[in-house]
């Protein structure tokens, strides 16, 4: 299917700046609102880089400023201070025509879809192509057909949005957003109004588009599940500031900031409270073991048991995946003498298992 799309799309010519590794570079961005004459700070000193072809997630609680940050990327919200570079150009310096041209090349998907109710599915997808004003009618209708095929709505083309389910509406929203061959797609809580099954399907579609078209995606969400499923990098935003950022595997498995920890906890099986009920061996250590990649499929614990005399009990555990990276996270109780324990730690390091002592010398 992608082969067909690529062959029709003469418009895929990369922009002059596509060799830039960072599609987006935000520098010292601030945004203040004026509420009843008082200045309220919505974003403070935001610095971010998003690499080409990556899916970048911004997560935060409601009111943290993530929506404002996303809208700074196409200047639906104008920052009070700072620079926003898209493909090497500082868009805060653009005049209104340049800005309109930029927006035609930056797709946006919304939580509540924001489709035109008076237009059919096909007309909605055609709308950005019509606005671009550079395609013939025939090119437009061919592109609409391709997109309908791509998002799996070929049989719904003449329906009106009110006749579609939420998931179908979002598929139209996505098709519309990528119609004009954007290099960048912004997703504003694209799955928050959808049920879990539909959420999965829409995330799969976004990932599919990212991989096939090499499209850079920036999404905002309040659900760690979304970040874990499709993002490469993540930034955690709290009260208008980025408190933590990095590769999803690092941030998800080793959260540093309290907000990140609580967001991760909502999505994780490791529930420390439940352990208070477990009966525990005196003098034992409570450890959290984390391992990723190939190590996930190794018989780590049985090897250790074969090589040392220390005892280990698994209290809780998860084996899952973060996007394409498999990982395991276990909560174990380790008991043994000091030398035995040291030997176990040595083996952990050897096998690239990260360990964290959560509690020492329990009752």
């Amino acid at each position: 299917m992608i082969g067909k799309i690529a062959s029709v799309s003469v418009q895929w010519a990369p922009s002059a700046f596509s060799w830039f590794a960072s599609v987006i570079r935000i520098e010292q961005l601030h945004k203040n609102y004026s509420v009843d004459g008082r200045s309220v700070s919505a974003l403070r000193n935001i610095n971010l880089q998003v690499r080409k072809g990556h899916i970048f997630g911004i997560i935060g609680r409601s009111g943290a400023g993530k929506s404002t940050l996303l809208r700074a990327l196409n200047l639906l919200e104008r920052p009070t201070q700072g620079r926003v570079h898209i493909e090497g150009q500082d868009i805060t310096q653009f005049d209104s025509t340049e800005l309109q041209q930029l927006r035609q090349r930056v797709g946006m998907v919304f939580q509540h879809f924001n489709l035109l109710n008076a237009k059919t599915v096909a007309e909605n997808i055609d709308f950005p192509l019509k606005l671009a004003g550079q395609y013939t009618l025939e090119q437009r209708s061919r592109r609409v057909d391709e997109l309908l095929e791509l998002v799996g709505l070929a049989d719904q083309r003449d329906k009106y949005p009110s006749q579609l389910s939420g998931g179908q509406k979002q598929r139209v929203g996505i098709a519309r957003a990528i119609a004009n061959y954007p290099h960048l797609l912004l997703c504003d809580e694209a799955t928050s109004a959808l049920d879990p099954e539909t959420t999965k399907a829409i995330l799969r579609l976004l990932l599919d588009i990212n991989q096939r078209l090499g499209l850079t995606i920036v999404l905002i969400t309040h659900e760690m599940q979304v970040i874990r499923t499709i993002c490469d990098q993540v930034a955690v935003i709290e009260a208008g500031e980025i408190v933590e950022a990095g590769d999803v595997t690092d941030v998800f498995l080793h959260p540093q900031h309290a907000v990140t920890k609580s967001l991760v906890a909502e999505n994780q099986a490791l529930d420390l409270d439940a352990l208070n009920h477990a009966s525990r061996i005196p003098g034992s250590l409570l450890l959290r073991l984390t391992y990723t990649g190939a190590a996930t499929w190794q018989p780590i614990l049985s090897r250790i048991a074969a090589q040392t005399r220390a005892q280990m009990a698994i209290l809780q555990g998860t084996i899952a995946r973060i996007k394409d990276t498999p990982y395991g996270q276990l909560l174990v109780e380790l008991s043994g003498t000091g030398t035995e324990t040291e030997a176990v730690f040595g083996l952990f390091r050897q096998m690239q298992v990260r360990y964290e002592v959560i509690e020492e010398g329990a009752r």
């Binding site: 800005l99 109710n117 237009k119």
Partner: protein, 219 residues
Amino acid sequence: MDFSQIDWADIGQATLDTLTMTGFSLFFTVILGLPLGVLLFLTGRKQLLEQRGVYALLSFAVNILRSVPFIILLIVLIPVTLLLVGTSLGVPGTIPPLVIGTTPFFARLVENVLREVDRGIIEACQAMGAKTHQIIIHALLPEALPGLLAAGTVTTIALVSYAAMSGVIGGGGLGDLALRYGYQRFQTDVMIVTVAILVLLVQLLQFFGDRLVLRFTRK
């Protein structure tokens, strides 16, 4: 009651006059009121072309025209009518005051209807790089079409009843007939017939207006 004395040719002519006045006035009211309503909406608070001064001025002018009783507007506007159509009498003499009287009313309705359009849709259009005029033509007006048709229906019915008042300054139509024969000459039969026709006319207008609204409702 003796309906045999009624001059049906008169009634027919008066009905036609009423329809003509309403039709022409509606045409000009929409031509003037729709852009005025769009402008009121766009210059309003937190809208695409927010302009507090312009909005305050337009809003004030609209309120002034709406607060003057139509019967007074009819009389005050006689010189303007003379200037515009050369006469202040009959069907042509009635159209300018009708248009001036209902345009602010319709414009206010349009403004309110446009405010009901989901802001998210306007934001989506902006995000697609649409210019303001493209947003108005391709998104705002089509999205608001059912509401605009409902506003048009209300305005048309208001025009029918305003047109009836124009008998006072020598206009024509059913209202004029009812006033001259029914009230001034005590011919109750004529009054009853004209009122019946007006009632029927309003019912029909509302019926077709509602049908039209339904026809274009996509929500």
